[in-house]
Symmetry: C2
Subunit: 223 residues, 2 copies
């Protein structure tokens, strides 16, 4: 069965979460990459801890918390001005260069394309708008409504509910291996855009397909 | 209110999960520490992913899966013999040197002391026995019964149920910051044995006390 619509993960998939590394490197020469990596890891870890414990807090707050932890872990001073600059950069992440063409082509092929993200609604609205993709993405779904982060099934359930489709009829696209796996477990047709050329998680589950760029989405929707 | 009993986390708290690093370094000179670290991180990540997704698998399996991923991620060949040697080492982790004296002193003070661990029952039985601590630890509780890993409240709930005490009357001890925090959220009195001198997680919650060795447990139970 071919899918009939697409839902994209946002952070890491449409938006380059490591693009903050440039500013981080300016602020902390020699430590930018490590800071960006640890920040990202901690942000994700925090989504899992609060979700498992039933202690939801919005993604923006956890992103800030992750940054603070990462800086302390690396022994870097983080004055409020630096924190605000990095957080502001996170609000306006670079979009991957192929996004626009792929989204436009999906539109041309009459395929509905939206977002299903851990980001809270305001973050997502700003990110989509500042990337100039507002007209090409609908719906923009945030897990905020469920107070559960991916990979909780309650979070993935937002997609089928909003689109009125069976999960198998929806292509869920993520560059985060764990997210592609969670979505596969949930029942979506899935594409893992393995930008980092990482090994597959050893969890005895494989995404429907594995690709290397957002362009691989188009193979699911032949003209 | 002073606590009346103690529950210890096992892996990282009573047993040194990085003691496998020595064998890893023998097998992969120059990569042992990195392999041990990534193995541990992945093992924990997998507990969260399967728990959040309602796809429980026993800790032993996830430990093996984490090892396989870590080796692949680092580009290290992992023939079955090396895998079995590392896994066997994990079954017989070194106990921290102060454990026995602390547990014996708790016994002398008439304080019941047990384990509440992500490990599955067989792993725990072997670890406790090979460390020679069988007589000093009761009960040995595994989250296996709940099919939810810590920090899921269902996992922490095993302690009060087994001991017939309110969570606040139980001192939960962990060297894993996230575990100390999860237990604090749940309602335990908590001690984070911060062996690695790490920053506190930035989650707006603080364990009851923070210490540096298992000996700090004894301060909760004055003679």
């Amino acid at each position: 069965m071919l899918p009939r619509a697409v839902l994209f993960d946002a952070y890491g998939t449409l938006f380059d979460v490591y693009s903050v590394g440039l500013l981080a490197e300016q602020l902390y020469p020699g430590h930018g990459e490590r800071l960006a990596q640890l920040w990202r890891d901690k942000q994700i870890e925090y989504t899992r801890l609060v979700s498992m414990s039933g202690r939801y807090r919005p993604f923006w707050e956890l992103t800030r918390a992750g940054l603070r932890f990462a800086a302390r872990r690396l022994g870097l001073e983080l004055p409020l001005e630096a924190e605000d600059r990095l957080m502001n950069q996170y609000r306006h992440l670079s979009a991957f260069p192929e996004n626009r063409a792929v989204l436009a082509e999906l539109r041309a092929r009459d395929v509905r394309a939206g977002i299903l993200s851990n980001g809270d609604p305001e973050m997502l609205a700003v990110a989509v708008k500042s990337a100039g993709l507002t007209e090409l993405l609908d719906p923009v779904l945030s897990v905020h409504a469920t107070r559960r982060y991916k990979t909780d099934p309650a979070a993935y359930a937002l997609g089928p509910a909003a689109l009125g489709l069976d999960p198998r009829q929806i292509l869920f696209v993520s560059s985060n291996g764990w997210d592609a796996i969670g979505a596969t477990w949930y029942g979506y047709t899935t594409l893992w855009v393995n930008r980092g050329n990482l090994p597959l998680e050893e969890l005895e589950v494989t995404p429907t397909r594995i690709g290397s760029s957002l362009r691989d989405v188009l193979d699911f929707f032949p003209t």
